[in-house]
């Protein structure tokens, strides 16, 4: 599959600008997820790629070939949605074999081909089962296997796991990636679930209000997002507002409600308004048994064991509320009402200029 290029694609629905001149390149055999809040345009973009929706302007290329005006069936792609549409009167095997049969393939070779796909998707045991006897996860896998059997080069996945229980979703997403990689396909996966996207994608495309906000690998975007919106969307974060007191030689000092915070960074000037994004796992709490008068102390407001993590909400003495989420070490947590001090992990503070439109609007999830 050659690279895919989307150039200035624009789509308006009545009064809503769903896609505002979106440009994007996707490389051969890449697994890319497009994520963003509902209404950000991610599904519309996928449908334009599929040829199901015709954009108002802009071009789509597959390699050097422009496909902008081609109907869906001439684009050689597989499409899988949240709503599963299996043929109810056919067994899982016959559903998967539908594409090859329509292409006129029959006999031993075709049977082997379908068998291979059933094995890859680990559906062998369900071969003779009819859709309404399959679990939600098995149905979704059958739909995926059927899409694969059509031998597309590009798989478009629109919330492919959306209808499933959280637990099943968490298992199937890894199978989805494994299959795409084993078959050497290019995949574009649309989801509102940032953990799903981060965990299986080579690159992520973050969208908001019809525009691409940021593109990068999961690690890049999680650890050093260029935009505040990304920091908020891709996992939880504390947002701490302050003023730059000093900035030189790669060190920044920020005043936050009278308290000071030092961290490595540059590009800010004295007196500037600043927002610091700090992921909960970069907030490290410790009991404050000495009742010290040092800064960044407060009392524990709530404490939850999330299983693999412990989550602690701390109300600092300067009025800031801060959330810490650290791996569950099995140690006794600090109790609700007790005093705690917090430290910030090295490189855990990501500084941003205060957004011109205000913090709430910048972070808005809809």
């Amino acid at each position: 599959m050659p690279d895919i290029r989307i150039v200035n694609v624009r789509k308006e629905f009545r009064d809503v600008l769903a896609l505002n001149d979106v440009s994007l390149e996707i490389r051969d055999r890449e697994y890319v997820s497009i994520i963003g809040p509902s209404g950000c345009g991610k599904s519309t973009l996928l449908k334009c790629l599929a040829g199901i929706i015709k954009q108002d302007s802009g071009q789509i290329y597959v390699g050097d070939r422009e496909v902008t005006a081609l109907p869906p069936e001439e684009r050689h792609l597989g499409y899988m949605f949240q709503e599963i549409a299996l043929f109810p009167h056919m067994s899982a095997w016959d559903n998967v074999g539908y594409g090859p049969r329509v292409r006129g393939e029959a006999g031993e070779l075709a049977r082997q081909f379908v068998g291979q796909i059933m094995e890859m998707t680990r559906l062998n045991i369900a071969s003779d089962t009819y859709p309404d006897e399959l679990s939600g996860g098995a149905k979704q896998k059958t739909a995926l296997a059927r899409a694969i059997a059509a031998e597309p080069q590009l798989m478009l996945l629109d919330e492919p796991l959306g209808a499933l229980d959280a637990h099943v979703r968490g298992v199937l997403r890894y199978e989805l990636r494994r299959l795409v990689k084993e078959l050497g396909l290019t995949a574009i996966h649309v989801t509102h679930d940032q953990e799903e996207a981060m965990s299986i994608s080579d690159r992520l495309v973050i969208m908001k209000a019809g525009q691409v906000v940021e593109v990068g690998t999961p690690l890049q975007l999680y650890l050093s997002p260029k935009r505040l919106f990304t920091a908020n969307f891709l996992g939880e974060a504390n947002f701490i507002e302050g003023t730059v007191e000093e900035s030189n030689q790669g060190q920044i000092t920020v005043s936050v409600k009278g308290w000071k915070l030092n961290f490595a960074g540059s590009g800010f000037v004295k007196g500037e308004r600043i927002v610091l994004a700090v992921r909960p796992e970069s907030v490290i709490p410790a009991p404050d048994d000495q009742q010290s008068d040092r800064e960044w102390t407060g009392s524990v407001r709530d404490h939850l064991l999330l299983g693999d993590c412990m989550r602690i909400e701390i109300e600092l003495e300067n009025g800031t509320e801060i959330v810490s989420q650290i791996p569950n070490s099995g140690l006794q947590p600090i109790k609700v009402g007790e005093r705690a001090r917090i430290d910030f992990a090295k490189d855990g503070i990501i500084p941003y200029q205060f957004p011109a439109q205000g913090l709430d609007l910048e972070l808005a999830l809809e």
Partner: protein, 371 residues
């Protein structure tokens, strides 16, 4: 204020046993999540408490009084179904105000409460919109606000966050808990999402095939699950089938593959017993060089994926099979694990992290609902 008691409650629909001998006691002001896979009977259980369906046998008490066959409207409970029905001809604000209005509050009070609740579900800016102008997630939040606005002391919520985008769902679940605690209401919240249940509930009732598998504090269910199903469904874990080959005072040795054994603390299982050794993914660590510690095995790092707080690492242990280790992200980056895919590394789980279960009657894959 209401406490809830279910005594030996069963509910059958024709030949299907939806709920099977469930006994449950929920304290006043408690936030309880009923957690289970699709089809486990969660919604039926909630509807029984709401009075929307009556038990085939058994009894239900609210606040110490028997209510088994009492009409829903006489139970002083607010039920928010998954299929919420908003009034299409009313604005968002009017929809929410309907909750308190129906409970006899004055129109002014009702609108004031509606505004408060809309703020809480972050929809103040859409107060004047009509339901059809909003996304499914927004509509669900309106239904939730309407349920909350009635100020019932008992809230029965069926997947109240199910239609909401993942990121917002995380924000709202903590707010929902905080609100319930501030209002002092008793909540029964049905969900299939174990992270949601863990992060919001005082206690969790895990339902499986109509029966309660375990009822306890999140820490107990997570730390001491009573079956492989529970360990897998709540939090996920690695599972290795094996046989007890040695027992000492406080140690059990389980052979999980020819020539390879796992050490576990405790000695509850008999010598020769068929068991499943299980250890949490985040209690499984990765070492980049060998050491002489127990339960240390070499393997090939197959893949890494980012979960956020953790990096998920799949390791191929040859005859033992594949296991998953969740390594804190910063630690994983210091070890340069994303660059080591394909390399030989070592995995380890301390003996105290290894739980041992009797081998389930059904095949392990079925027990774990692998498909």
């Amino acid at each position: 204020m209401p406490s809830i008691r279910l005594i030996d409650v069963s509910k059958t629909f024709g030949r299907i046993k939806a709920i099977h001998n469930v006994s449950l006691q929920i304290a006043d002001g408690e936030y309880v999540c009923v957690l289970g896979p699709t089809g486990s009977g969660k919604t039926t259980l909630l509807r029984l408490i709401a009075g929307l369906t009556y038990p085939t046998s058994g009894s239900i008490e609210l606040d110490g009084k028997p209510v088994t066959f009492v009409q829903p409207e006489d139970r002083n409970a607010a039920y928010v179904p998954q299929q919420y029905a908003l009034f299409p001809h009313m604005t968002v604000r009017e929809n929410v105000a309907f909750g308190p209005l129906a409970r006899g509050f004055t129109p002014e009070e009702s609108l004031r409460t509606a505004d408060e609740m809309l703020k809480l579900v972050r929809l103040s800016h859409r107060a004047a919109s009509f339901p059809h102008e909003l996304s499914g997630g927004m509509q669900q939040r309106i239904a939730l606000a309407r349920g909350l606005a009635g100020r019932s002391p008992l809230l029965l919520l069926d997947e109240p966050l199910g239609a909401i985008d993942a990121r917002l769902r995380v924000i709202l679940r903590y707010q929902l808990r905080r609100l319930a605690k501030d209002l002092g209401v008793t909540v029964v919240h049905v969900t299939h999402d174990q992270q949601e249940a863990m992060s919001i509930a005082d206690r969790i009732a895990v339902l499986r095939e109509g029966a309660i598998e375990q009822f306890g504090h999140p820490a107990d269910i997570y730390g001491a699950p009573t079956s492989p199903f529970l360990a897998n469904f709540v939090g996920g874990a690695n599972f290795l089938e094996g046989t007890v080959v040695r027992k000492e005072l406080d140690v059990t040795l389980i052979e999980v593959a020819e020539g390879f054994s796992v050490t576990s603390s405790g000695n509850a299982h008999p010598l020769g017993g068929a068991v499943v050794a299980s250890f949490r993914q985040e209690r499984t660590s990765i070492l980049t060089s060998a050491s002489l510690e127990e339960n240390l095995v070499p393997g090939k790092l197959v893949s890494t994926s980012l979960l956020g707080v953790f990096l998920r690492c799949v390791v191929d242990l040859g005859r033992i099979g594949e296991i998953v280790a969740k390594v804190p992200l910063r630690e994983a980056l210091q070890q340069r694990l994303p660059d080591r895919v394909g390399d030989v590394i070592f995995v380890r789980a301390g003996r105290e992290a290894v739980l041992v279960f009797s081998r389930p009657e059904r095949a392990l894959a079925v027990e774990l609902e692998a498909f």
